[in-house]
């Protein structure tokens, strides 16, 4: 079990993650998976699932190269870049939240958690703004094959961000009151949020950049 500073042996740093030994009841050293290992299983599963969606996208792209190229020109690269920067910032803030929580600085952790939620919110707003813009240009879900994939991938990712809000809500709830704080749940929530960011990057690459 990951150790909190001061409760036992000092945590070591390996690749930026804490490798802690649990000396409370003489157990063998805990594996260094932050948060619930179950969440990592879920992350793996979702990544495989999204990979299958990306493979399908690429297959249809090679079959319809011209159409896809043409439709992609309608997308604004700047919005895509902005989205990516916003999500990366949210990952940074959630990592700081975990770090602060590990060190017992809970006010700072809460601030970073709220910052993460704020960045997520900015992402959502900019996504909706982009969709409205595309619809006004006449590109809807049913326009052509490229836009089918575009709306599908961005929507399913959007849904994962919404779920991320619920997860961050749990994190905030945990951090708020001393009676409830669970480092494991905070790290589990952070793992999920990192996944949301990590899944966005290939979507960004495929839809906006690869031309």
């Amino acid at each position: 079990m990951t150790n909190i500073a001061g409760a036992g042996s000092a945590p070591d740093e390996v690749d930026g993650r804490s490798v802690a030994t649990d000396t409370k009841d003489g157990d063998k050293p805990a594996k260094f998976v932050p948060g619930q290992p179950d969440m990592w299983a879920f992350v793996l599963f979702e990544t495989l699932l999204f990979t299958s969606y990306w493979v399908v996208y690429l297959i249809f792209r090679t079959q319809n190269h011209e159409l896809f190229l043409q439709s992609q020109a309608d997308l604004d690269l700047r919005i895509g870049v902005f989205n990516t920067i916003v999500l990366l910032s949210s990952s940074w803030s959630v990592a700081r939240c975990v770090q602060a929580s590990r060190e017992g600085r809970f006010r700072a952790a809460l601030t970073n958690a709220f910052l993460t939620i704020f960045f997520g919110f900015v992402f959502l707003v900019s996504k909706m703004f982009e969709w409205i813009k595309e619809i006004q240009m006449g590109n809807t879900f049913t326009t052509n094959e490229f836009f089918q994939h575009y709306y599908f991938l961005t929507s399913i990712h959007f849904l994962h961000v919404l779920i991320g809000f619920v997860v961050m809500g749990v994190v905030v709830y945990q951090l708020w009151s001393p009676a409830r704080r669970s480092q494991q749940l905070v790290e589990t929530g952070a793992t999920y949020w990192h996944t949301v960011d990590f899944l966005w990057v290939p979507i960004f690459a495929l839809l906006y950049v690869v031309r």
Partner: protein
């Protein structure tokens, strides 16, 4: 968890001997026979479902939505007897097999430390799900197949109704999976590993991914499409296989108490799991 509780659960040794003899003994004496009855009903159901839908009726994988009226009529002609017999099997067994399936899953939630309303919600939702989500397809395909000389335009309408209702009944499975997920996440009785809760989330999301089947008639989002059907079916198949296995483990571990289930949590992640439940007080010791 104590030896005393397990004693009351297994007072006798199960016998050796012929399979029939052992089966009869278990029916008579196994203290968990009700749970095993429900579990075997569940396994039988999924097997019969595959036989009826995939092999006999060939309603799964579904035929294409991109056909015209003649194409739809042709499908019914090609599968006439398969549909009628396959659907007949479903009409025969679905109630008997699916009710204990839902009862067993509801029971798993009742065994958890959460409110019983989770169990009852799940039971109510999934009980009703079979009608729009499966029986409608069975009835409509039967009606479509039984009169081959019907006007193709009418057959076309029945074809759409059957396959759209089956693939497109989404809400029950969406919300039902989320109910199970929340129950597992809150549970302190260690009935299921937490990763199964997240798998429920993945299953719930397949109901979102299938929604475009109501909009598209071809490519990847049609009711037989690569994304809306094939990938979704893989996720659903994995999910189903996993919960069948997990329910089996639950029955094996069951001690008919109300506390945490004894024995190791099933699944490959157990050695990574913390040795105790998280202790909320651990953080307060270092709180500023």
């Amino acid at each position: 968890m104590s030896a005393a509780t397990t004693e009351t659960v297994a007072p006798r040794e199960s016998p050796s001997g012929s399979p029939l003899h052992r089966f009869v003994w278990h029916c008579r004496h196994n203290p968990k026979r009700e749970l095993w009855f429900a579990w075997w009903a569940m396994v039988t159901f999924y097997n019969l479902f595959v036989v009826s839908f995939f092999v006999l009726a060939r309603a799964q994988p579904p035929p294409s939505p991109a056909v015209d009226a003649q194409g739809a009529a042709q499908w019914f002609t090609d599968n006439h007897y398969g549909v009628l017999v396959g659907m007949g099997i479903i009409f025969l067994v679905i109630g008997l097999l699916i009710a204990p399936t839902n009862a067993l899953i509801a029971y798993s939630m009742r065994r958890m430390s959460v409110s019983r309303s989770f169990a009852y919600s799940y039971l109510a939702m999934y009980a009703l799900s079979a009608i729009p989500g499966m029986l409608l397809l069975c009835i409509v395909l039967t009606v479509g197949a039984m009169r081959p000389d019907r006007d193709p335009e009418l057959i076309y309408w029945l074809y759409d109704l059957a396959f759209l209702s089956f693939t497109g009944t989404m809400g029950v499975f969406l919300i039902g999976s989320l109910v199970w997920m929340v129950a597992i996440l809150l549970d302190k009785n260690r009935v299921f590993p937490k990763w199964f809760a997240y798998l429920n989330l993945a299953n719930a999301l397949t109901e979102v991914v299938v929604a475009p089947a109501w909009i598209f008639k071809n490519h990847v989002f049609g009711w037989n499409g690569l994304i809306a059907w094939w990938i979704d079916m893989v996720v659903f198949g994995i999910y189903t296989g996993v919960f069948i296995m997990l329910l089996r483990k639950m029955i094996e571990r069951e001690d008919f108490g109300t506390g945490p289930l004894p024995g190791p949590l099933p699944g490959p992640l157990q050695e990574l799991a913390p040795s105790k439940e998280h202790d909320p007080s651990e953080l307060t010791r270092t709180a500023p």
